[in-house]
């Protein structure tokens, strides 16, 4: 939320400076529909720039709280000993850029805008020493990278001529549902000169959506249906095999 606000403020501040809007971008679709046969989806982000510079695209999924527990050997057993709780960890995080990130902006700038998994900092629920938190954060990012939710390789933003650009955003099959933010930053000489933020919704559609909302809103009926189905299936199998 704060980041979206930041971008908004940034837009308000930078807009008057740019006589015309320097950056325009949009998505091929603002909805990723998860149906029963969903195996992942690709979206195209396209746009145009009116000033020279380098582009960085950041996609962030809905934030959630994540607890990282650390096991330590205690009397021969590996038990959970200490834990760090990170607030507002995006459920999905991907970066695309027109050049390697280090060539576009300084580490300081990248940390400020949260560009690249090595620059991500999540707020902890309790005040902690950075030295203590760092390995927990690294473990969290590694786990997310392994499940494909924080793609490790930065994607390429392609320029079609001097002004037009496009980039593909790939969502794996296990993307969390919710509201996403796609942020496009235009860098020039290591500083942001223009920015735009576009919302995106990842949502269950059709059968999956109906089952999910049914399970949430009519939990008892849902449970009864699940049980009735189980009993019927068990009975049907027993009956079928008696004849056979």
């Amino acid at each position: 939320m704060t980041r979206a606000l930041l971008v908004l403020i940034l837009l308000l501040v930078t807009a008057p400076m740019a006589r015309a809007q320097q950056l325009v971008a949009d998505l091929s679709s603002h909805l990723v529909a998860i149906t029963t046969g969903f195996t992942g989806a690709d979206l195209v982000l396209f746009g145009a720039i009116d000033a020279p510079g380098d582009l960085v695209v950041i996609v962030r999924g809905p934030p959630s709280e994540v607890v990282i527990r650390r096991k330590e050997r205690t009397v021969g057993l590996w038990l959970n000993r200490s834990a760090v709780t990170f607030k507002d960890v995006p459920g999905f995080y991907e970066v695309a850029s027109s050049k390697p990130l280090a060539e576009i902006a300084s580490a300081e700038q990248r940390a400020r805008y949260g560009i690249g998994t090595d620059q991500l900092r999540f707020e902890t629920s309790k005040k902690r020493e950075e030295l203590f938190v760092a390995p927990y954060r690294a473990a969290l990012i590694a786990a997310r990278q392994q499940s494909g939710l924080f793609p490790a390789e930065p994607r390429q933003t392609q320029f079609l001529g001097p002004r037009l650009f496009r980039t593909t955003i790939a969502f794996p099959a296990n993307v969390p549902t919710g509201l996403y933010q796609v942020e496009v930053l235009l860098f020039n000489n290591g500083a942001v000169v223009s920015a735009q933020s576009t919302p995106l919704v990842v949502s269950r559609i059709g059968f999956s959506a109906e089952i999910f909302s049914f399970s949430q809103q009519h939990a008892a009926t849902y449970a009864a249906c699940a049980l009735a189905f189980a009993v019927a299936a068990g009975w049907a199998a027993a009956a079928a095999f008696r004849k056979g």
Binding site: I34, T36, G37, F38, T39, P62, P63, S64, E65, V66, V67, I68, R69, R70, K71, E72, R73, G76, L77, W78, L79, N80, T85, V89, G91, P135, A139, L140, A143, R144, A173, N174, P176, T177, G178, F207, S208, A209, I211, F212, S215, Q216, A219, A220, Y222, A223, A224, A226, L227, F229, A230, V231, A233, G234, W235, A236, A237, A238, A239, F241
Partner: protein
């Protein structure tokens, strides 16, 4: 074929889940155990969130046990009276278990507590069974009737509420089967398993039930405890995935029928030896996980998705 699971929020290969259901259903029909102690780790290994694995698993167990019980019922292998006494204990156990689970969760040691209790229960029960059934297999030539001492009076036989269970030819305290059911109910709520691996040996060794009645009677009471657990999981945690459940059930009910067939062909001690070997294997695997240095000491747990 990929199918998206609406509650687990991820796609799975339908064929893999069907096969998993069939395999576990087969064991369930053969041994009279739910097979949850195998299914839950497998589902988690496939990437399904543990809470959804436990909740959905309970739903699948209902179908497998109904299918299994009906098959045993036709052969007259269910002691309904004893089953109902166990069931009362089981219902109480699952209610208490839900509270216990909440307490462990607050302490942040749920996974370790579950692993430790798995290793303890599976390890002791499995090795005791392995020793006993191994001995029985070796002494096969000895005639069976003399084997079981009907009147070995221990402390267990001095408990009050002595009741006759004519089907099992037992005259024991009703507290004993109720207590066994209670422990089973606890396990259902905490671990999402039917607890059959514990109930079956307890019924054989503590109650001294005839081996032919054990599987059917244990499944009979597992139906009730798993149904209660499914309901509680669906209502309080919303973690029962019907799509995943349907796939597991489709495989499970068929597997259970084949398992029941095979159990007719094997002798009691052979079945017990197989089950014991399986239980010990799982215990050893879980025990090693607790002792050996893990790949990474960090465990990631997402608390509140999408706020």
């Amino acid at each position: 074929m990929q199918i998206y699971l609406p509650i687990a929020e991820m796609p799975v290969d339908a064929l893999v889940i069907l096969l998993l259901g069939t395999g576990v259903g087969f064991l369930s029909g053969l041994f009279g155990v739910g097979g949850g102690f195998l299914m839950t780790p497998f589902l988690i290994f496939l990437g399904i969130p543990p809470a959804v694995a436990v909740g959905t698993q309970a739903n699948q167990l209902v179908a497998a046990s109904v299918s299994g019980v009906l098959a045993h019922w036709r052969r007259g292998n269910v002691d309904v009276k004893l089953g109902i006494v166990m069931l009362i204990g089981g219902a109480l156990g699952s209610v208490v278990g839900v509270q216990l689970f909440a307490l462990l969760k607050r302490l942040g040691q749920v996974d370790v507590a579950i692993s430790l209790s798995y290793v303890f229960f599976l390890g002791t029960v499995g090795s005791l069974m392995l020793i006993e059934s191994g001995r029985a297999l070796l002494q096969r030539r000895a005639t069976r009737p003399g084997q079981r001492k009907l009147h070995q009076h221990t402390l267990l036989h001095r408990l009050p509420f002595k009741t006759r269970f004519p089907r099992s030819r037992l005259y024991i305290s009703a507290l004993l089967p109720a207590l066994i059911g209670f422990v089973g109910g606890l396990l259902v709520a905490i671990m999402g398993i039917g607890g059959g691996f514990l109930l079956v040996p307890a019924m054989i060794y503590l109650l001294g039930m005839p081996a032919t009645l054990v599987a059917g009677t244990s499944l009979f009471q597992i139906i009730a405890t798993t149904a209660i657990a499914t309901f509680l999981h669906a209502v309080t945690n919303h973690t029962v995935d019907v799509v995943l459940g349907a796939l597991l059930i489709a495989g499970g009910v068929i597997g259970a029928q084949f398992g029941t067939r095979l159990s007719m062909l094997l002798r009691g001690e052979q079945i017990r030896a197989l089950l014991a070997a399986l239980v010990v294997l799982v215990a050893v695997k879980l025990g090693l996980d607790l002792v050996l240095t893990p790949n990474t000491p960090y465990v990631v747990q997402t608390v509140a998705p999408g706020s």
